[in-house]
Structure formats: C-alpha cells, structure tokens
C-alpha cells in the first residue's frame, strides 16, 4: 500500500478504535492490528498527529502503580471518520469500475 494512503487509513483506524470507548496505546494496537498492520512506532506519531489536529484528547489514569495514558475521541474526530467514509465511497466506485463490476 502507498505510504501516504496507509498513513491516512491508519489514522482513521485509530480514531475508529476510540469511537466506542476511550482507550490506551497497547489496546489500540490490539484492536487495529487484526485489520491493518500497526506497531508502536507507527502508532505514536499518529496519536501525536490526531491530538494536535484536535481529533483526540489525552489524559492519564493511575493503574497498577503507574500512569496509563488514555485517548478520547472528540466531536471533530468523529466527524473526520464520517468525512473519510464519504470520500471512500468515491474511491469504491472507481474500484468497482477498475475491477469491471457493474457492467
């Protein structure tokens, strides 16, 4: 997959992983990795980027004698998922055309 496309898709996967409930780094990796390959090295910059863009906020909670950093999806983040899905519909139409479906 093209690196730029992969980065964009991963960003949305991370937002999606936070849609139902707040989550933390390792849990996000476990939730996303069955669908797209992701590691700590790719997740950390994505989390920084989505936080900077206002799609996600972060907070810490004490857990087993240490701090666990949680991430929460904002309204802007939820809107970004919707925007991505709308954009992707155009791509899916092109995909069907390329595959020769619907003729």
């Amino acid at each position: 997959m093209d690196a730029q496309l992969r980065r964009g898709v991963l960003e949305i996967c991370v937002l999606k992983a936070l849609e139902k409930q707040d989550s933390y780094g390792y849990q996000i990796i476990k939730d996303v990795s069955p669908y797209v390959q992701i590691s700590e090295s790719t997740l950390y910059p994505i989390l920084k980027r989505v936080c900077a863009a206002g799609y996600v906020t972060e907070y810490s909670v004490a857990h087993n004698g240490r701090l666990r950093r949680y991430y929460r999806l904002t309204e802007a983040g939820a809107a970004r998922i919707g925007e991505f899905l709308r954009e992707w519909e155009d791509i899916m139409r092109a995909y069907s055309f390329i595959k020769g479906e619907g003729r």
Binding site: Q4, Y26, E40, S41, Y44, P45, K48, R66, R68
Partner: protein, 203 residues
C-alpha cells in the same frame, strides 16, 4: 533484551536530541512494554514484540520538526570535534563565496518550488472566481438586456449560466488538483527533511 536495556538503547541512539523530544516517545514505549507484561508476556517477549531500536528511533526522528534535528546535529558535530576549531573557522570564511552561494541557491530553489505551487493554486481559484463573477454578471445582465430585445437578453443569460456551471464544476476539479499540489509540497518537504535525519549506516 529486557525492558531497561531496550529503553536505554533507544535513549542512547537518540542521545543527540533534547530530552524533551525523547521523553514522550520513550515513555510511550515503556508503557507498551508494561501493558504486555500485564498481558502475561516476559520482558524479553514484550521487547521482542516491539520494533527494533533502530526502527523506533527512525520513526521518532521522522516525527520531529526539521529545526530541532538540524540544531541538534550541528550541536552534536560541534561537541564531537571539541568545539569549533580555528582551522574550520578560516575554511568557512575562505570558502564562504562557494558554500554560501550554494546554500542560498538551494534555499531559493525550495522557496521557488513552494511559491510556484501556491501560485498555481491561487491562479486556479482565481479562474473559478472569475467564472463565478461572470456567471452572476451574465444572469443579472440577461434581465438588464430584456428591454433591448429577447435575443441579447437570452445570449447574456445563457452565457451567464455556462460560466456559473463551469465555475461549479471547476471548483471541485481544482480543489482536487490543489490537494495533489499540497501533497506534492509536503512530499518535497519530507524529502528535504530526510536529508538531515541521521543515516542508518552513520550510527
């Protein structure tokens, strides 16, 4: 390799960077190792599941602002050579007509590319704006020309509709082109930034 060794190796690999740039990602890796330990893995297994120190370091470097990387690399070189030697100062001054002009040329080249990209984007939207203005003027003008005769009024009105239609169509097309151009600009910037990131073999 256990947790302490992995984090120490990562910190050592990034030792040329300011601590505030490194503490965040290292804390993140430490947290991920702790989570794996809670999941029942041993420290060695948890570390083995992470990316290699080199890959982790490169990913952290790639995420830093260019200014931070350049500043730290200059500082690092200075420290390695034990401060700026008089010979280097003399060479820098003597060679300045060459390296300074090359540096200015390179900076001007990068700036020119950016100016051209933005100029193209602005021009495209200027075309859309002109067509939209012509469309509105044509439609309003159509009514204006009604007393002069149906043919002139219809011609003006039709022309206005064509311009308005083109403006709407081109707005979407040009928005996509603008996105591509911005993406191109970003890729160029990342290319320039990559020149300053420490090469794998130079460690």
């Amino acid at each position: 390799m256990n947790k302490t060794e992995y984090l120490a190796a990562l910190r050592q690999r990034l030792s040329y960077l300011p601590p505030e740039a490194v503490n965040g990602p290292i804390g993140f890796y430490a947290e991920c190792i702790d989570e794996r330990l809670e999941d029942g893995m041993t420290e060695e297994e948890a570390v083995a599941a992470l990316d290699s120190v080199e890959d982790a370091a490169r990913s952290i470097e790639a995420d830093l602002p260019l200014a931070t990387i350049v500043k730290q690399r200059v500082k690092e070189k200075k420290e390695r050579s034990g401060g700026t030697r008089p010979l280097w100062i003399v060479l820098a001054i003597v060679g300045s007509p060459i390296w300074l002009s090359l540096l200015i040329t390179a900076a001007a080249l990068v700036l020119t590319v950016y100016v051209v990209l933005w100029a193209v984007i602005i021009s495209l939207y200027a075309v859309v704006l002109s067509l939209a203005a012509a469309g509105v003027a044509g439609i309003v003008g159509g009514f204006w020309f009604l007393p002069a005769g149906w043919s002139s009024a219809l011609l003006c009105f039709g022309g206005g509709l064509v311009c308005a239609g083109l403006a709407i169509l081109l707005f979407f097309a040009f928005t996509q082109v603008a996105r591509w151009l911005l993406l191109l600009g970003k890729k160029l910037w990342l290319g320039v930034k990559a020149l300053f990131i420490r090469k794998k073999e130079s460690k």
